[in-house]
């Protein structure tokens, strides 16, 4: 369903914010296409059609197709990053609670839904052969992993742990990713709160005394 370009969209907008609006609109259309057609079938013509704009206009806002795809990935990335970082900033200064905050944030509806995961995985699938993608994806993923590991290490010195921090972090992150994939299959899979509870269960098993503090 193409977003109709009505005059309303531009009410009270100057040219700068109008340009931003268009870019966002095109990024949204790109995600729709990737979700429904896959990256290999996502063409400029189709993206433009879905956005309700001409292909020429698309290339006015993004100089090349690659640039558009890269910006789309960057948008996804920023959204993902700010999501867990904000959650972490809002959590109290307690590693156990912060760990839980990160896990909970991972399943926020804004980032953890079928469409977004679908697009995310499409980029991952292409990242090996596109260094630019790899850099964006990889850096983000690493920041998340590092933070998770740091929290596990902090928890380890406070309470007794049944797993080394590195293994704990790997298993928690792996379980999150696995559950994410589950959302791809459809509504028959996990629900968000179910998923969170399941990962919490793992955390409790690794750090038995954590909840009682």
């Amino acid at each position: 369903m193409p977003t109709p370009v009505t005059e309303k969209n531009f009410a009270g907008r100057n040219r700068k914010s109008q340009s931003e609006f268009r870019k966002q609109q095109l990024i949204e259309a790109t995600m729709d296409c990737i979700d429904k057609l896959g990256i290999s079938q996502t063409t400029l013509a189709r993206i433009a059609a879905r956005a309700g704009l001409s292909q020429g206009n698309l290339l006015f806002h993004f100089q090349t197709k690659e640039a558009l795809l890269e910006q789309t990935l960057r948008f996804l990335n920023d959204e993902y990053k700010s999501n867990w970082q904000d959650a972490l900033a809002a959590a109290p200064e307690n590693p156990g609670l912060q760990l839980r905050a990160m896990i909970k944030a991972s399943f926020a509806a804004r980032i953890c839904n079928r469409k977004k995961i679908s697009v995310w995985m499409a980029f991952w699938g292409e990242s090996r052969s596109r260094p630019a993608y790899m850099r964006v994806c990889g850096a983000n993923d690493k920041a998340f992993s590092d933070r998770l590991l740091a929290l596990c290490e902090a928890i380890e010195v406070q309470t007794d742990a049944r797993l080394s921090a590195s293994t704990a972090a790997l298993s928690i992150e792996g379980m999150i990713d696995g559950l994410w994939q589950n959302f791809l299959i459809g509504p028959s899979g996990f629900k968000r709160d179910q998923a969170i509870r399941a990962v919490f269960e793992l955390v409790d098993a690794i750090y038995p005394g954590l909840t009682d503090e």
Copy 2:
């Protein structure tokens, strides 16, 4: 590096096995292309060039590009499936040892290496928009999960568990997948035996009495 087509390749081959040889050769070339270029840049011309055959010949053995990609995925799938199923069949009738056998098999060099994982992820990335891929990938993945879950349930009744069988299975499988992704990054990441040991650590934490039996 295209596989040169020398007469030697066909020494002692009849037409049927020659055809099989060609198909395998083309599937191999397809995986090379997907690994190095990504699915979206993988074209018939490039696959044929890498195999050292004409594009016409490629389409003689596989009627369409889609058919070739599907067969490539099917090959990967069969290899993966037989790998863990054979390992399971060779293991003794003990759920704990069988679980370990499955984990160990997951990291076998034949299936767990940078190229194969790269191709595998490329297909996953496209699977949402291609029901045919999804069916192949999904069915395989489900068989593996189901078996893992069944083993966890069997272990649960034998020894005490710190996690429900379903959560245990999810965390183990997730950790395996997460470590797989690690191999994509390159030689700086995990080594195979390191990865196996890490997952075993998780198993020991979930089922503390398992090793002593």
